[in-house]
């Protein structure tokens, strides 16, 4: 036996393999999770590590079960930031502020370099709930391209998308300033707005303007957190001075207010509310008009009061008065002032309550503040970013079931239905050209879906309309699957307050994707400036039996009729 073994050994030696890679070196790539990765670059990022630890978020960003995108300022940036804030070391920062700061620099989820370099608002929020935006220095003065990428126009990005096991690390030359101030804080910090601020406090609006999130109970005991947004037309003390107002008392007198400032009927209360819109409107939003128009009407938080914005060949006004050929201007460099829960614009007049002339009003029936919040929250959960009124690369149908916030706008009576669509929902349209147009040609890229079954009812409040006579038209979408309803139409009863009419929706439309219109009322007469109850009752029995039944409502158009 030994003999055989020896024999085998000899053979093994003779025929043993050469390792063809014997003298080659192989590079092994070591990857660490985010925080450990930063530790490996101590000399550059030790100070940010200190802040991470101080904010107690160091271990959080090292979790393997979640992915993160970290924006990490280098040591010089942190030093400059501390110096600016009068802090000698990291521990001099308020711990809550440090937390907010770190949360503003971390996104849960991965943002690849490719996605990052698309530019504009990122599609995922930071942990603090804010969207960061990416911009590029295209002046040609500096090294461009990947060497001139900025976040929030504030921090230069040094390194893009370093890969770590749980995401990406971007390094920055500057610390990002988190947006923590509310609209009220913005008023409070600016001395020149003190009279307006006092008015806001006296009338109790300060609490509203300090709200960032509102928790809403849902029907089954759950809660939804909604982001609140406001637009404020703020008046400076010097502008008040020009109107002879130098104190809160002067202002109260000027608007002829009684002493019960907190009552919603009070003139001062109404004056403040008249300066507020219940959503964030940047100047570009305020000055975007429906086709061929140069005036837009906005419902304010003051009951039954609207304000108007105008673009007369490049001159912008608020509440332009045809009688005096003058309007209120926006103070340049004092517009689009951002706050955590909205935007402030300074106006150059004290802006009393004003009744603009009747205008054609386009009412997007899905244009309610909390609808925007709910839709954007869905967008964020799908990592699409803010998708409200923004066409996407594919279509989204978002159901509004049992959401108290939504149902405060839409009063429903729901019956059984065979169609597999949301009973009430929001349709985000699809765009094949990067958002410039949508496949339906729908106004504001969205629609309201109604699928409530036979005798199902939805009613909703129109925006405030100035008193007068109007022709009322409905704009809605059709599609191929709606062919059975296109022939002959689908009966609905529509009403505006007490005025009723029976109409056949889809009659006259084609069974192909597009927006079609029909007259709901040839003439309605609103005797006072107010919002109105718009109601639709589905009188087509197929609303219950047909599996393709639904209404896709785009908008309602009110055209003033001049006698």
């Amino acid at each position: 036996m030994k003999k055989y073994l020896l024999f085998c050994m000899v053979f093994l030696i003779v025929f043993s393999c050469d390792d063809p890679y014997e003298n080659d070196n192989f590079v092994v790539y070591d990857l660490d999770p985010a925080a450990t990765y930063l530790e490996s670059r101590q000399d550059e990022f030790s100070k940010w590590i200190d802040i991470l630890k101080y904010a107690d978020l160091y271990n959080a960003v090292n979790q393997a079960s979640k992915s993160f995108t970290l924006f990490v300022p280098n040591n010089d940036a942190v030093d400059a930031f501390l110096a600016k804030n009068g802090a000698a070391s990291v521990t001099d920062l308020d711990p809550e502020y440090a937390k907010a700061l770190v949360r503003f620099h971390v996104i849960e989820g991965e943002i690849s370099q490719k996605e990052f370099l698309i530019g504009g608002k990122l599609t995922k929020t930071t942990i603090s709930g804010d969207y960061l935006s990416v911009s590029f220095d295209d002046s040609g003065d500096a090294e461009g391209g990947i060497n001139s990428v900025y976040i929030n126009d504030e921090a230069l990005v040094n390194e893009l998308a370093n890969t770590v096991t749980n995401g990406f690390v971007y390094t920055l030359n500057d610390v990002l300033t988190p947006l923590v101030e509310t609209v009220y804080d913005r008023l409070n910090e600016n001395e020149s707005y003190s009279i307006f601020k006092e008015a806001v406090e006296a009338t109790g609006w300060d609490e509203t303007l300090n709200t960032v999130y509102d928790t809403v109970q849902t029907e089954f005991g759950g809660t939804t957190v909604l982001k609140k947004n406001y637009t404020m037309f703020v008046v400076s003390n010097s502008t008040f001075g020009d109107a002879g107002v130098s104190s809160l008392a002067d202002l109260a007198q000027k608007v002829e207010a009684s002493a019960d400032y907190e009552s919603s009927d009070n003139a001062l209360n109404q004056y403040v509310a008249y300066h507020l819109l219940s959503s964030s409107k940047y100047i570009t939003d305020l000055l975007s008009f429906s086709e061929g128009d140069s005036t837009a009407i906005w419902s304010t938080l003051a009951p039954k009061q609207v304000l108007s914005t105008h673009d007369f060949s490049g001159s912008y006004y608020v509440n332009y008065d045809v009688a005096t050929s003058s309007g209120i201007g926006l103070v340049s460099d004092k517009t689009d002032m951002p706050a955590k829960n909205g935007i402030l614009h300074e106006v150059d007049s004290y802006m009393p309550v004003f009744a603009p002339a009747p205008r054609t009003v386009i009412w997007d029936v899905a244009d309610y503040d909390d609808v925007a919040s709910v839709v954007n929250e869905y967008g964020a959960s799908q990592e699409l970013g803010d998708i409200y009124q923004t066409a996407q690369s594919s279509e989204y149908w978002i159901a509004f079931h049992d959401n108290d916030a939504i149902e405060s706008y839409y009063n429903l009576k729901v019956n059984s239905t065979s169609a597999d669509y949301p009973q009430l929902g929001y349709l985000v349209t699809k765009s094949s050209d990067g958002g410039a147009t949508n496949s339906y040609g729908a106004y504001k890229n969205d629609m309201l879906i109604v699928n409530l079954g036979y005798l199902g009812t939805v009613s909703m409040k129109s925006p405030v309309l100035l008193k007068g006579k109007y022709k009322v038209e409905l704009y809605y979408a059709s599609a191929g699957s709606l062919a059975p309803f296109v022939s002959g139409g689908s009966l609905c009863k529509v009403s505006l307050d007490q005025t009723n009419n029976e109409v056949y929706v889809y009659d006259g439309a084609a069974a192909s994707v597009g927006i079609y219109d029909m007259v709901l009322f040839d003439e309605v007469d609103f005797e006072e400036t107010d919002s109105h109850e718009f109601k639709i009752v589905l009188l087509d029995s197929r609303a219950t039996t047909h599996n393709k039944y639904r209404l896709q409502l785009d908008y309602v158009k009110f055209t003033p009729i001049n006698d």
């Binding site: 085998c8 370099q113 530019g119 295209d138 040094n158």
Partner: protein
């Protein structure tokens, strides 16, 4: 019994020993061409030369993407399919693999190098290989090498200049970058060497080969193009004239009949062509994706919105019935032809159409044109504008542009030469090139050449703002920012190249990338 088991055991061990490492015992060195056994006949020289053409043809998708997508007239609608979207978004990185790999071109260069290095030896071994034939092969090898380096220099600027074939392991694979100037000088030397022998053919026996292999005309066209890039305008004009003023019966000619414009593409290898990559489905079963990646059946590439507007304008200038180069020629709209002004998509039609109106080719074997006479004419126009600003010189340029326009039934341009600027004149050329050579892999090089000449004098007008205006997909601020950075105008060296050749230095713009 025991003994039997032992034998079986022993046999098994032996069996395993003999099969182990089998490959390493029997296979000849894979990394070495056995040169002594090869290079014995002229047929072998021609076969290697043929491989050079085949490798160049294999690179056609890259030639298309590199030449078009950054230029913004054409864009990839498909993300993630290997259709080069990172080029149009100006987001290429060294890790983009094939998209930024110059390997397809170095393959061509290696074949050329082999022919150039060994032809002489073969001539001594093969009595039937006479010097004239050898020289003729050499002109083709020089052409292929020069053309490949010209693509390299336009895309990477700096690259290793390799002039010896890789036939054995004795040649180091590590080689440092040469500068743009050195590469250009080598290209010019190669073309000059090829032209000097007078052995370059005016035509080949087979018709396809006259356009599918390098002729004297192809060498002149390439030289003109290189000189234009290199800002050597008098030489560029000289070589353009060699083509345009030739009297040989075999010269390529500018076909002026508008109805014959489509023949450049179908059937191809037309009189107006100088050099094109050839495919032949029926005879050789060779196909490509030019008609499927473009065309109107869910294509990867279409014209961008601005380019579609240009096509609509051009169609309006001639009317649909006389539009040879625009509607049903270079593009078709996504709507009925009569409503072409309502189009949302402009499909690329050159590689799909076979005649006027909506007829479509059956075989997917459209050729890819690299040089044609109209190109040489517009090169000459460009060189005439830049070479001298006197009225005579510019008049020649205007006439050349107008010949190309007239052939497309378009009205002539009539600039008042005393009043227009050099930039105005160049804008005419650039516009005409954009329309005439749409989707022929030239647009980006045109913009880069126009933008970078004269120390980037026209960078903003011809490069940055043109791309911003035409690009369909990228953020304008990003495009401006990238295009204002000199190094970012060129591609990165692919990562594996850097790992294998440690003497290579990455383009500084891409060094900060991770």
């Amino acid at each position: 019994m025991m003994k039997k088991i032992k034998y079986i055991f022993l046999l098994l061990i032996l069996a395993f020993q003999f099969t182990a490492c089998n490959d390493w015992l029997t296979v000849l060195p894979e990394n070495e061409q056995v040169s002594d056994e090869y290079w014995t006949s002229k047929e072998e020289v021609e076969a290697v030369l043929g491989s050079g053409y085949v490798y160049l043809r294999d690179a056609y998708q890259k030639l298309f993407m590199w030449g078009e997508l950054r230029g913004g007239s054409i864009y990839s609608r498909i993300i993630g399919g290997g259709y080069g979207e990172d080029l149009q978004s100006f987001q290429v990185t060294p890790d983009d693999g094939d998209l930024v790999s110059w390997a397809p071109l170095y393959k061509v260069i290696n074949m050329s190098n082999s022919v150039i290095a060994n032809a002489e030896t073969v001539m001594q071994r093969d009595e039937t290989f006479d010097e004239a034939v050898m020289n003729s092969y050499l002109t083709e090898a020089y052409f292929l090498r020069a053309l490949s380096y010209f693509y390299i220099v336009r895309n990477w600027r700096d690259a290793p200049l390799i002039l010896e074939p890789y036939e054995t392991d004795k040649i180091s694979y590590e080689k440092a970058n040469s500068s743009e100037a050195d590469i250009i000088a080598q290209i010019k030397t190669d073309i000059a060497t090829a032209l000097e022998t007078g052995a370059a053919k005016e035509k080949f026996e087979e018709d396809w080969a006259t356009k599918g292999r390098a002729t004297k005309w192809a060498l002149h066209a390439l030289m003109a193009d290189v000189c234009l890039w290199n800002e050597d305008y008098p030489t560029a004009i000289l070589h353009c004239n060699e083509v345009l003023d030739a009297s040989s019966a075999f010269r390529p000619v500018f076909v002026t009949d508008p109805t014959k414009w489509i023949e450049l593409y179908y059937p191809g290898n037309s009189n107006g062509s100088i050099f094109e990559l050839n495919w032949d489905d029926i005879t050789f079963d060779q196909t490509n994706e030019l008609s499927t990646a473009m065309g109107n059946a869910a294509p990867a590439y279409t014209y961008t919105s601005q380019m579609l507007l240009d096509w609509i304008d051009e169609t309006e200038e001639t009317g649909v019935d006389y539009a040879v180069r625009s509607i049903y020629g270079s593009y078709i709209p996504d709507v009925d032809g009569d409503n072409y002004t309502d189009a949302n998509i402009g499909y690329i039609w050159k590689y799909s159409g076979i005649g006027f109106q909506e007829q479509q080719r059956v075989e997917n074997d459209a050729n890819f044109i690299i040089y044609r006479v109209a190109d040489v004419m517009l090169m000459k126009a460009e060189a005439m504008i830049l070479n001298s600003s006197d009225v005579q010189s510019w008049t020649v340029a205007v006439e050349l542009i107008n010949k190309v326009r007239t052939r497309s039934n378009l009205p002539e341009i009539e600039p008042v030469l005393a009043e227009v600027s050099e930039a105005d004149m160049l804008a005419f050329v650039l516009h005409e090139r954009n329309m005439e050579f749409a989707a022929e892999g030239k647009r980006w090089y045109d913009l880069l050449r126009m933008g970078k000449r004269n120390d980037f004098k026209y960078r903003n007008q011809f490069l940055v703002e043109t791309v911003v205006n035409y690009n369909n997909t990228a953020n304008p601020a990003w495009v401006r920012s990238v295009l204002n950075t000199d190094d970012a105008l060129y591609l990165p060296i692919e990562t594996s190249e850097l790992e294998n050749n440690r003497l290579l230095v990455q383009n500084p713009y891409y060094q900060v990338l991770n």
